[in-house]
């Protein structure tokens, strides 16, 4: 105890310091966010976020409940548009193209930036239909056998094919929680996105299902850029290359995961990862 308290005393940035600490830029960024603010009506939920998301990297967003990490995540595929009174300002660009303006069409954006939600939410349709829906509405398959191939490949990539190949016409909602979440991941990658956003994808799952998803995230990193919100610091440490710590709407610290967890620069980060609040 004494040792930790001492080390806290040595942190160069104290609790009151609210600007981002660490390297928020990336050498090869896919998404670049500059001075992003989010308001819910009068409430300033997310304040002045500057961060880059690197290519083929997993970046974890951590922080206590209500810190704005999910709100920020939903800026990246414009899901905040669906919330009345929610206003996002600042510059967000993907591969150099702004995605935050009112003139940007969200349909192609969301095809490029897929999302996996906290609670597994398969459509109340068959397993096949769940995966086939995205390619179908975007016209990615030219004929039925093409579509079947996309569905099979997506399910294989999500590590679900062997478990469901004999029951594709059965309802997706009949699967177990972990299988449902992998079905949702398969549904997302069936559209062939470039970025996958994951909003606490394992919070409703048991440890074994969680381990499977985490392994899957590690495999998917080769093909996709992944932004994951998690309340589990162990998970962030296991799956991510970079970690961003949010607190009360501010991005407090961002850096290489190893560095953030072993040598946090900010006192709040240190207190959070050692479990003193949150």
């Amino acid at each position: 105890m004494t040792k930790l308290e001492n080390s806290t005393m040595e942190r160069p940035f104290h609790r009151e310091h609210r600007s981002t600490v660490g390297t928020f830029t990336s050498d090869n960024p896919r998404i670049v966010c500059r001075s992003v603010d989010v308001y819910y009506g009068e409430k300033h939920a997310v304040q002045n976020i500057n961060i880059d998301v690197g290519r083929h990297q997993v970046i974890a967003l951590i922080g206590p409940s209500g810190c704005g990490k999910s709100t920020f995540l939903r800026c990246l595929n414009r899901m905040n548009d669906t919330i009345p009174d929610c206003r996002v300002t600042g510059d967000i660009s993907m591969d150099g193209i702004a995605i935050n303006g009112p003139e940007v069409d969200v349909v192609p954006l969301r095809a490029q930036v897929g999302m996996v939600f906290q609670k597994p939410n398969p459509f109340p349709k068959s397993i096949f239909e769940n995966v086939a829906y995205g390619p179908r509405i975007h016209g990615l398959a030219s004929n039925p056998s093409d579509l079947e191939e996309i569905v099979e490949n997506s399910l294989r990539r999500a590590g679900l094919w062997d478990e469901v190949k004999d029951r594709l016409p059965q309802p997706g909602t009949g699967l177990s929680g972990g299988q449902q979440q992998r079905l949702c991941i398969a549904r997302t990658i069936a559209v062939n996105p470039e970025v996958i956003l994951m909003d606490e994808p394992c919070s409703a799952l048991d440890p074994i299902a969680t381990a499977k998803i985490e392994q899957l995230i590690d495999e998917l990193r080769a093909l996709y850029t992944i932004v994951i919100v998690t309340h589990s610091m162990q998970q962030a440490a296991r799956v991510s290359q970079r970690t961003a710590f949010f607190h009360l709407g501010h991005l407090i610290e961002v850096g290489e995961t190893a560095q953030v967890f072993t040598n946090p620069q900010h006192q709040l980060t240190e207190e959070y990862i050692t479990g003193r609040f949150g």
């Binding site: 349909v107 969301r110 939410n121 459509f123 109340p124 349709k125 829906y133």
Partner: protein, 433 residues
């Protein structure tokens, strides 16, 4: 952890306190269950009374008494010139034929009073029945044949025992009863299925009055109502719930839709009279105008039900669809609407069932008229089942009494078929997990 945090919050032992209050809680629960059961039993008793009274009154309308008469198809009466000209055959007085036959059966009937009574023994449609036989087969002329013919509605009532109370019977009734007895002894009276009741339109004569005109009128009116209110109502609900911006205007619209659902139906009738008939000049008494008026009445109900059904679709389904890049329209039609169909159908059925049973607004647009013809188009004059029930309930003839109950049974059957269809649709969509 000091001991003070283990101090009980209340005095005494929790277990004892709970046990002491348990009897009271149990009896409260028992009391409430009893109330619930009593309500259900009371409801069932009322339903039973309703059904027993209506069916008990009305089942006899489905049969009608016929008398076997030996009819001589007399050439002198039907076709004195012998040309077999269809015009002549149609114009002949066939009543004479059955009157002659009855006189043969009751040779001792004398005096004007008695003869007049005997001449009113057979029903209004006996004449038509004989005419149709002869026109269908002119070779009958000159032969004698036993034919079953319908009796007069008063005679039918006497046979069914519906005029049974002694003090109600006058001299004429007693005379009729004596004849009936004679005919029954000769096995000349039988009751058969009253086909006319299901195939005829309305009539002043109870034995010829049927429900088919009103059934067709109701069906045509309801077709218009469903055809308009369902698509308009669902589209309005989808727009208001899924696409409309939330502002003062949509709030105002919402409040007004709720108000419209509570407007007395006769007001819609007045509106229909002013707008559809007086302003647009649409034909009076027509299923078209009736359907339009009932559409106005049903729309708020359907919109409110459909909106609440759409609202109850979990947001996770919407997010899932939007998250993979579905446009809002794709989200609504591929995912939200299928999940909302059962709820929408319930609302639609409640609305249309109310429209089917509605008579007040139709009074204002002339659908209360006495209409004999069976409506063929949406613009021909028509009446509907509830109005027909009202008209018959208002008629003095005894035979209309049982027909009123029978018409109510037909209306109830109509409603049950519609509800059955709605249940089927609900099941079909709910089965899809």
């Amino acid at each position: 952890m000091s001991d003070s945090s283990h101090q009980p919050l209340s005095r005494g032992h929790t277990h004892d306190i709970v046990m002491a209050g348990l009897a009271k809680r149990r009896s409260a629960e028992k009391r409430f269950r009893l109330f619930g059961l009593a309500s259900i039993v009371a409801g069932l008793i009322f339903l039973l009374v309703l059904f027993v009274s209506i069916i008990g009154n009305g089942y006899s309308a489905f049969t009608y008494a016929n008398v076997a008469l030996d009819i001589t198809f007399d050439q002198a009466v039907i076709d004195p010139e012998g040309h077999r000209n269809p015009g002549t055959l149609a114009a002949a007085d066939y009543d004479t034929l059955w009157k002659a036959s009855l006189e043969k059966l009751f040779p001792d009937v004398t005096g004007r009073q008695q003869k007049r009574a005997l001449n009113a023994f057979m029903g209004f449609s006996a004449d038509k029945r004989l005419k149709d036989m002869v026109i269908g087969d002119p070779s009958l002329i000159g032969t004698t044949k036993t034919v079953w013919l319908p009796v007069d509605d008063t005679i039918d009532m006497l046979i069914k025992g519906k005029l049974g109370k002694e003090e109600e019977l006058n001299e004429r009734h007693l005379l009729d009863q004596a004849w009936i007895k004679t005919l029954q002894d000769q096995n000349r009276i039988r009751s058969s299925f009253n086909r006319e009741f299901f195939t005829n339109g309305d009539s002043r004569e109870p034995e010829a009055a049927g429900i088919w005109g009103a059934v067709t009128g109701s069906a045509l009116t309801l077709l218009i109502t469903i055809g308009l209110s369902l698509p308009i109502g669902i589209a309005a609900a989808i727009y208001l719930e899924e696409f409309a911006p939330r502002n003062r205007w949509t709030d105002l619209i919402e409040v007004n839709i709720n108000n419209l659902a509570a407007v007395p139906s006769i007001v819609f009738g007045l509106l229909g009279l002013a707008v559809f008939i007086n302003f647009f000049g649409l034909p009076r008494s027509s299923p078209l105008v009736g359907g339009l008026v009932l559409t106005l009445m049903t729309l708020p109900v359907i919109i409110i039900a459909a909106r609440s059904a759409l609202k109850s679709v979990p947001p996770s389904v919407r997010e899932a669809a939007l998250g993979i890049g579905a446009s809002p329209v794709q989200m609504v039609f591929d995912h939200v609407l299928p999940l909302a169909v059962p709820g929408i159908m319930t609302g639609a059925i409640i609305g249309t069932a109310r429209a089917l049973g509605e008579s007040a607004p139709l009074l204002m647009i002339g659908m209360v008229a006495f209409i004999v013809d069976i409506p063929k188009t949406f613009t021909s004059a028509a009446t509907v089942l509830p109005v027909q029930i009202y008209l018959w309930a208002d008629s003095p003839e005894r035979a209309f009494n049982e027909r009123t109950s029978a018409a109510i049974m037909v209306l109830l059957a109509f409603l049950m078929i519609m509800n059955g269809f709605a249940v089927y649709v609900r099941r079909r969509y709910e089965r899809r997990w």
